[in-house]
């Protein structure tokens, strides 16, 4: 089943599915579900060659991934154009992540060009690739192995019409990454959903231990404190990214965690003893720091070496903070 299928287009090498540029209600619903992590890994379209509009031998060939959200964004952007869309097998992963893994890669480009008999359909020898696919594709190798030259066109699919109208020339703006509030906001639901399982286990253990050694009220307070610290690190840290101080994600996370701890203390902390206060302000920011540091995987401006450095220094500080906090809580309980 090909999403957006209109009809079969007869070509010299056989039938090619012609697909719509307008998305339907189920496309939007599917994207919404994927954003929340529901059936995200099976949100996929078959790889191969597709026709948008009424392409001919001279029409451009645009290459993309087979994550359905990616496929939908690209075909929607191409409304009103006559182009070929070559969808690579990236196992339902977006262009950027698939390029990092190498599935949006040189080998797959060559394989898909060959298996779709592209050279018999088009008279030119040019492939248009997304710029964020470049970490997986060696343009000179593609040219050597299948005769097609690669043009890295734009970062965003939304810029493709301007690129095509502009005589297939990339403007500096098309090459510039952004990370807007909206772009960060849409990433957060899936981040929260992916952490829910671990959060439920750890916060459950905290609830149990604190209830056993104290009472249910203390258990619930600790449960709320930890859950808030995780959510602050997973959701608020990324969302407020440019407002939080420092370039380090761990520091940004610790700051949002400290703010959370302060708010929680003002709301529920009237009965906290000194040990509890110190423990809360040590452990909770450490937990938030870890989760905000993890968000480096979702950005497109953090380097692996930078994350390594943050982990080398940060993980030991976070670990120490948590251990000292546990010791203090034990001390406060039995002193």
């Amino acid at each position: 089943m090909v999403p957006g299928f209109i009809e079969w287009l007869e070509t010299s090498i056989g039938r090619v599915p012609r697909i719509a540029s307008k998305l339907g209600i189920f496309d939007h619903l599917g994207a919404c579900k994927a954003r929340w992590g529901i059936e995200r890994m099976s949100f996929i379209v078959p790889p191969g060659l597709y026709a948008v509009g009424a392409p001919c031998a001279e029409s451009p060939v645009i290459v993309t991934a087979n994550y359905k959200m990616t496929y939908d964004i690209v075909r929607q952007a191409l409304a009103g154009y006559n182009v070929w869309l070559l969808v690579l097998e990236t196992y339902g992963i977006n262009v950027w992540c698939a390029a990092g893994k190498g599935t949006f890669g040189t080998g797959e480009v060559v394989r898909r060009v060959t298996s779709s008999k592209l050279a018999e359909i088009v008279s030119h020898r040019r492939l248009i690739l997304p710029i964020l696919g470049a970490p997986g594709v060696a343009a000179h190798q593609v040219a050597r192995r299948c005769g097609f030259t690669v043009s890295y066109a734009t970062i965003r699919a939304a810029d493709l019409p301007e690129y095509l109208d502009n005589g297939m020339v990339t403007t500096p703006a098309m090459r510039k990454l952004t990370f807007t509030w909206y772009e960060r906001l849409v990433l957060i639901p899936v981040e929260v959903v992916l952490e829910l399982k671990l959060l439920a286990v750890v916060s459950g253990i905290i609830l149990l231990i604190c209830t056993l050694f104290n009472n249910l009220s203390v258990g619930l307070t600790a449960f709320g404190a930890y859950t808030g610290a995780v959510l602050s690190g997973v959701a608020l840290g990324p969302l407020l990214l440019p407002l939080l101080p420092s370039r380090s994600f761990a520091v940004k996370g610790a700051v949002i965690g400290a703010i959370w701890t302060l708010i929680y203390y003002l709301l529920t902390g009237a009965s906290w003893n000194l040990c509890t206060k110190i423990a809360a302000f040590l452990a909770l920011p450490a937990v938030s720091a870890f989760y905000t540091l993890n968000f480096t995987g979702c950005t497109t401006y953090t380097s692996r070496s930078g994350v390594k450095k943050e982990m080398r220094i940060g993980l030991s500080i976070m670990g120490c903070a948590v251990v000292i906090a546990i010791l203090l809580l034990t001390l406060g309980r039995f002193a």
Binding site: G100, A134, H140, R175, R304, G306
Partner: protein, 97 residues
């Protein structure tokens, strides 16, 4: 990237200008404008903006660029480290597993 800068002086990107043949691929693939073309040679103008994605190195036909690229999130790197030490991975269902 306007408004966002990551840690300074950590990037492993290395570039040998004498090797450059001036094809311009590095400038074309870099989303952070780390390279610009000057007099038919690429110049490395903003090393600290590099996110180590590896696109420039992979697309350089004369291997004038090297960079250690790879997974950049904490849980992905912890999993990588655990696998290297044959301790199994913690599957949190994250994208980098």
């Amino acid at each position: 990237m306007t408004g966002f800068r990551y840690l300074e002086k950590v990037v492993t990107l290395e570039y040998s200008q004498p090797t450059c043949i001036g094809c311009g691929r590095c400038e074309e693939v870099c989303p952070h404008q780390v390279f610009v073309m000057n007099n038919k040679k690429a110049s490395l103008i903003d090393k600290d903006a590099c996110m180590e994605c590896g696109a420039c190195a992979l697309n350089c036909p004369v291997k004038a660029i090297t960079v250690e690229s790879g997974v950049g999130c904490a849980s992905g790197m912890i999993n990588e480290w655990l696998r290297e030490h044959k301790l199994g991975g913690i599957s949190s269902g994250s994208c980098c597993d």
